[in-house]
């Protein structure tokens, strides 16, 4: 199922992080894996698309496809999406792509990603981009498009909090390299830059909703201070997004499984 079809059928993209690597005991790891499996299957059962992160914030986590394989989790067509960043060895990149193909995961969100001193980094020669100074999402998307042409639907990120000209210049390069859909950073109801973007691009856009009340975490994620007095009731904000961006998809991060998940259908249907 393509992104367009997700939008058409009002299928939520729900972000799910894999367990972190810094566990101290086996029972703790087991518990984290069980919790992941429970959330994963719940989301699939309710007809949503699960989006699995790739070492967000540079914090070492277990790799998405490895966890899916280890736990024997199902991958119904079009219902699983995987983030893929530039902080991998070439061997790992190959392995992840192979796993995605075998599992039937056809949807990838390609991002530059967050590094750390524990994470390796793709070098230009690893992605046939010898002239590039650095491997960003642009080089990675181009490489995947060329090597595995037509086998994946490839998305890129858009950050409305960065200076617009700079961000659109990057977006142009990403589109040139083969981007097929766009996922934004969290939007609180409405954002001028997103409005501008929608006028400029001709591809599906999925808008991220921050489902947590904690704004300082959002500030950390996007790299800019969100004013503390910003009014933010996540479910209300989500309703505003549905209203303001009717032709767009919805990507939910920090979802409350007990308090919010049961009510999603009421908001977008």
């Amino acid at each position: 199922m393509s992104i367009n079809e997700h939008i058409e059928h009002k299928i939520f993209h729900v972000e799910l992080q894999t367990p972190k690597q810094n566990v101290k005991t086996l029972p703790e790891l087991q518990e984290n894996l069980d919790q992941f499996a429970r959330k994963y299957t719940t989301l699939l059962d309710q007809g949503h698309c699960v989006c699995i992160t790739d070492n967000p914030m540079g914090l070492l986590s277990f790799q998405g496809t490895e966890v899916i394989k280890e736990l024997g989790l199902p991958c119904p067509a079009g219902q699983v999406s995987v983030h893929l960043n530039t902080f991998h060895t070439p061997a790992d990149l190959q392995r992840i792509i192979d796993d995605c193909l075998k599992l039937g995961i056809g949807n990838l969100l390609i991002i530059s990603g967050d590094g750390s001193d524990r994470l390796p980094k793709l070098q230009p020669q690893d992605v046939a981009a010898d002239e590039a100074a650095s491997v960003t999402s642009v080089e990675l998307i181009r490489h995947i498009r060329q090597r595995w042409n037509g086998q994946f639907e490839l998305g890129v990120a858009f950050n409305p909090y960065e200076p617009f000209d700079h961000e659109m210049e990057k977006m142009r390069r990403k589109i040139d390299a083969g981007a097929q859909f766009i996922v934004t950073q969290p939007i609180l109801g409405r954002h001028e830059m997103l409005d501008k973007l929608l006028k400029l691009v001709d591809m599906p856009v999925v808008v991220e909703a921050w489902m947590s009340k904690k704004l300082h975490l959002l500030s950390l994620c996007v790299g800019y201070e969100i004013p503390e007095d910003t009014v933010h009731n996540p479910m209300d904000t989500l309703k505003q997004l549905v209203q303001n961006y009717p032709g767009c998809g919805l990507y939910l991060s920090m979802l409350g499984y007990k308090t919010q998940l049961p009510h999603l259908r009421k908001v977008w249907n």
Binding site: M57, G58, T86, S112, D114, G115, S116, D117, K121, A132, A133, S134, V135, T136, V138, E139, E162, P163, H166, E169, K170, R173, G223, Y224
Partner: protein, 338 residues
């Protein structure tokens, strides 16, 4: 092995500086340590000896005396020509056993950091590495060694009360060399190489000089960093030029790396590297918190930006309002001229 008694400790005298030679030339850090050594020797009322191990090293003795050595202790032998750690270490151990210095200083260079810790174990001595301060304590006459720890969060002072010699390594450009004084006189002691310490377990096959080697960001004492304001790859070429001129490394904000202007290995910040250089030039960097946490321990921050009110301009010790290209161009010109 016993703790030396007071009587035994009194036998140890003089400040030694172990010279660093590269391809026959005395490195600046040696002169800097002779400067520091003279200061310590004045407090202790003793002499400064400079120890030189190598081959065909006689020519360097006079310069060492002019820069502060009272005695130059030399072991000149083919076996010491290349740096084989265990051979140099055992030779230095023999000299220490023979002449009993109270204090031994050496540059915290690649070679110094390999040699001196080995010697410290062999002679059962205390060693403090990477000292930023050396003083003689009033009353006790002990060497007080100061160094930063935990990424610069803490300054520690270390003493070695019972064991001799007291050993310390110091990084280049921390201490000050004395001006060469050709009227200074000193004497030269030629010790012979002891054949029993010759090594058969390690051999230097080839020496390759590569002055183009880029300086590691984490070790750099001078960093020139660029952000979005540098506009593109050309901006970073300018920064590279400046960095080469001052012997520094190039850093970058995440925005610049994500824009593809420079490689991730140059990224400074929370998802890049943490640095503590002596000076950090921030050119066209606004100073998001994730970047600031990576460089806020820099001793001196000089920010250049057209906007005077960015977080980086507020953090900086010197906030230069202007066009980074113009300012850097003029800085380089000024350095070239003077």
């Amino acid at each position: 092995m016993h703790t030396p008694t007071d009587i035994l400790r009194q036998q140890f005298k003089n400040v030694w500086v172990v010279a660093e030679l590269r391809h026959g030339a005395v490195q600046d850090v040696t002169y800097e340590l002779l400067g520091a050594g003279r200061r310590l020797a004045a407090s202790r009322g003793c002499q400064v000896w400079c120890v030189v191990l190598g081959h065909n090293i006689k020519p360097v003795a006079q310069a060492l005396i002019h820069r502060g050595a009272d005695v130059v202790l030399m072991v000149d032998h083919q076996e010491l020509e290349s740096f084989v750690d265990e051979v140099h270490a055992r030779q230095l151990q023999k000299l220490i056993d023979m002449h009993k210095p109270e204090i031994v200083l050496c540059g915290a260079t690649a070679r110094g950091r390999a040699l001196i810790p080995r010697v410290a174990v062999l002679v059962r001595a205390g060693l403090t590495a990477d000292c930023t301060g050396l003083e003689i304590e009033q009353g006790s006459g002990l060497l007080l060694q100061t160094r930063p720890a935990f990424g610069g969060n803490i300054l520690a002072t270390i003493k070695c009360t019972d064991f001799r010699p007291q050993m310390a390594t110091v990084r280049p450009r921390v201490m000050s060399a004395l001006q060469a004084d050709p009227s200074r006189a000193g004497r030269i002691i030629d010790e012979s190489f002891s054949p029993d310490i010759a090594g058969r377990r390690m051999k230097v096959l080839r020496i390759i000089v590569d002055t183009q080697q880029t300086i590691n960001l984490a070790d750099a004492t001078f960093i020139v960093a660029g952000g979005r304001g540098m506009g593109g790859k050309e901006g970073f070429e300018l920064l590279s030029q400046f960095a080469r001129m001052v012997g520094g490394a190039v850093g970058a904000s995440r925005a610049a790396v994500d824009a593809g202007w420079i490689g991730y290995s140059h990224q400074v910040g929370q998802t890049g590297q943490t640095v503590q250089p002596k000076v950090y030039f921030a050119c066209g960097i606004s100073g998001q918190i994730q970047h600031l946490v990576g460089m806020q321990s820099s001793d001196l921050i000089i920010a250049i930006n057209k906007d005077p009110n960015t977080p980086m301009m507020q953090l900086a010790d010197y906030a230069v309002v202007g066009d980074a290209f113009e300012i850097l161009g003029d800085i380089m010109e000024e350095i070239r001229k003077t």
